[in-house]
């Protein structure tokens, strides 16, 4: 079943996403140039994806939007992964009162469904790419903290960790050399799915008008602008939506493949495979 459609295509798409995002600065893009005679023009000569309601080139704006979502995803996933893993690992390894507090905090954050807390935070902090990153990281670290905590709890009683402790290794060295390498696979998979979630979340916030500031382009903001002109210019909704959908689908397919390949079975607290 693993043919080109689920194998190569997502990788190529994601590579394209990354290259366009990083290289956007070097391309001769005109995302903010207004051409009044082209307002709402359908795809055709000169512009592959047509023009938007202000007469701006949609393809150029899509590439800038790709950059926005890529940057936000990269920042939020790295920050959340770092923060969550650090807190989860420390709390499980340390145990006791500190651990109980961490669990409670994690549970409290999990009690806000979906990106609700991020919506509220982004709304209160005001628009801007920094605030989007802050809002999504505030919500995002929790998953990694829970996962790394569960991993450390099951790993810390393994013989090789006890041996390392008996030999007098420092806590930090044990975490770095004996725990983190074994936790890497599930964390990488969680982070992969995290990219898809953050891309949707950033676009969602921008759709609600809580994301990047206009005129900066974001796929979510482009979809929102497009919904006002759906009957006359459906390409305004279709183009950024297809891009967003393609990236998220690719990340999810890749995540599934990674999970199958690394064959992750989360270990429970007794260290037995479930």
């Amino acid at each position: 079943m693993r043919n080109g459609l689920t194998g190569t295509v997502p990788v190529v798409l994601l590579a394209l996403w990354a290259v366009l995002s990083i290289g956007a600065h070097y391309l001769p893009l005109q995302p903010d140039v207004i051409q009044l005679q082209q307002i709402l023009a359908a795809p055709g000569n000169g512009a592959w994806l047509g023009y938007d309601d202000l007469g701006r080139d949609i393809l150029d704006r899509m590439i800038v939007g790709a950059r926005t979502s890529f940057l936000v995803a990269a920042w939020v996933v790295s920050l959340s992964l770092l923060l969550g893993t650090l807190l989860g690992t420390a709390s499980a390894y340390h145990g006791g009162w500190w651990d109980r507090m961490t669990v409670l905090v994690v549970d409290v954050f999990l009690a806000f469904p979906g990106i609700l807390l991020a919506i509220a935070l982004a709304g209160l902090l005001g628009p801007g790419i920094d605030n989007v990153v802050i809002a999504l990281t505030t919500v995002g670290w929790v998953g990694y903290a829970r996962l790394s905590r569960a991993q450390v709890l099951s790993l810390k009683h393994r013989e090789h960790v006890q041996a390392a402790e008996a030999l007098g290794n420092s806590k930090w060295r044990i975490i770095r050399k004996h725990l983190l390498p074994l936790m890497a696979a599930p964390l990488i998979i969680e982070a992969t799915f995290g990219i898809a979630a953050v891309v949707i979340a950033e676009a969602g916030l921008s759709f609600l008008g809580l994301g990047v500031q206009p005129p900066q382009a974001s796929w979510g903001a482009m979809i929102r602008d497009g919904t006002r002109y759906m009957l006359v210019a459906p390409h305004m909704v279709l183009a950024p939506g297809v891009a967003l959908f393609a990236v998220v689908l690719s990340v999810n397919l890749l995540g599934d493949r990674l999970r199958d390949k690394l064959d992750i079975r989360l270990t429970d607290r007794n260290g037995t495979q479930s």
């Binding site: 079943m1 651990d99 109980r100 669990v103 409670l104 905090v105 549970d107 409290v108 954050f109 999990l110 009690a111 806000f112 469904p113 979906g114 990106i115 609700l116 807390l117 919506i119 509220a120 935070l121 709304g123 209160l124 902090l125 005001g126 999504l136 919500v139 995002g140 929790v142 998953g143 829970r146 799915f193 995290g194 898809a196 979630a197 953050v198 949707i200 979340a201 676009a203 969602g204 759709f207 609600l208 008008g209 809580l210 979510g220 979809i223 929102r224 497009g226 919904t227 759906m230 009957l231 459906p234 909704v237 939506g241 967003l244 959908f245 998220v248 689908l249 999810n252 397919l253 599934d256």
Partner: protein, 330 residues
């Protein structure tokens, strides 16, 4: 957590202790939920203090007079020490007093009550659509494993997980409202207006749930009692429904409880897409008009509902399946 990722409340209390009678189990869970709700209240309370700058100035705009600002500051209690503010906030909540809206000058509780039926209706119809599609889809995928039925259902599920609400919604409007003219474009008018928003919300849930039903069903299909039922000559359909699905549904119930969170959070975006006059739209409207007491109340209501639903799911699950509380299996 983000939509699409799997929230998990399995350790709402710090440590599982399975060897205890039902009452202790219930008490432990209640206490855990209470602690979590207290935490949620604290964060919601702190939200207004996370606003960069002076919240009163942001709410009223720069043109407001000093007297107006001070009046609002006093009426929100923002001039008091933060500890006292928190005490007052808790005290108000215990009497179901959520403050009043700055722009509409009405109690927030009234606003919420007004919007609640719309969100309730949307959630009910969404759940109905979800269950009536996800169960058959998952069961068929499981019993016709590795056929094109299975591939089709799971591909649909993959697409459903990956499509964002705020794109699917406009697409459905484009096709069914603008091109075909079957449903109203937005708002709440008549029975048919709930269909498109519910379908938008249901797609993601169907995707997640049908996957779960499939994997849960696959596990059950290998059980001895299924072979026994078939061996004694029971019709295959009955075996699947009475012996298979009934047992496979147990883990599905938990997931459904957790997914209700995705539904509630998704409602914020979906209600905005369709101008559906529920709590979600109220959240976004009040963010846009900087009516922070209303924002706080909406976030609090949605989150506490989520915690309570998960608590109920947990308790129902333990009630249905004694292994959870008595700890023989697992």
């Amino acid at each position: 957590m983000y939509p699409g990722t799997r929230a998990n409340f399995s350790h709402i209390t710090p440590d599982h202790k399975y060897n205890q009678p039902m009452l202790a189990f219930i008490l432990q869970r209640l206490l855990g939920a209470l602690l979590v709700i207290l935490g949620v209240v604290s964060i919601v309370f702190l939200l207004i203090h996370m606003i960069p700058g002076d919240p009163v100035e942001i709410m009223l705009g720069e043109s407001a007079s000093t007297a107006d600002r001070e009046a609002l500051r006093v009426s929100l209690g923002l001039h008091l020490p933060i500890g006292v503010q928190f005490q007052n906030y808790l005290h108000g909540l215990l009497q179901l007093d959520l403050g009043s809206s700055i722009h509409l000058r009405r109690p927030v509780a009234d606003l919420l009550l007004e919007r609640l039926p719309a969100t309730g209706l949307l959630a009910m119809v969404t759940l109905l659509i979800t269950l009536s599609l996800a169960l058959p889809l998952g069961v068929i995928a499981a019993i016709r494993r590795n056929t094109w039925w299975d591939t089709g259902a799971m591909s649909f599920s993959m697409l459903g997980i990956s499509i964002p609400n705020f794109w699917l919604g406009p697409l459905l409007i484009l096709v069914f409202s603008l091109w075909l003219g079957w449903f109203p474009i937005s708002g709440r008018s008549g029975v048919s207006s709930v269909i498109l928003p519910a379908l938008t919300l249901a797609t993601g849930l169907i995707a997640v749930l049908s996957r779960m039903v499939r994997s849960s069903m696959l596990e059950v299909l290998g059980e001895d009692y299924m072979r026994t039922a078939r061996a004694k000559g029971m019709p295959p359909g009955r075996v699947i429904l009475h012996h298979g699905l009934r047992n496979a549904l147990l883990p599905v119930i938990t997931l459904l409880g957790l997914q209700l969170g995705a539904l509630l959070a998704g409602a914020v975006i979906t209600e905005t897409v369709f101008s559906w006059p529920g709590i979600g739209l109220l959240t976004i409207e009040s963010i846009q008009s900087r009516d922070y007491p209303v924002v706080q109340a909406c976030v609090l209501l949605i989150s506490v509902t989520y915690v309570l639903v998960n608590l109920l799911t947990d308790l129902a699950y333990a009630w249905i399946d004694p292994r959870i509380r008595l700890g023989s299996g697992h």
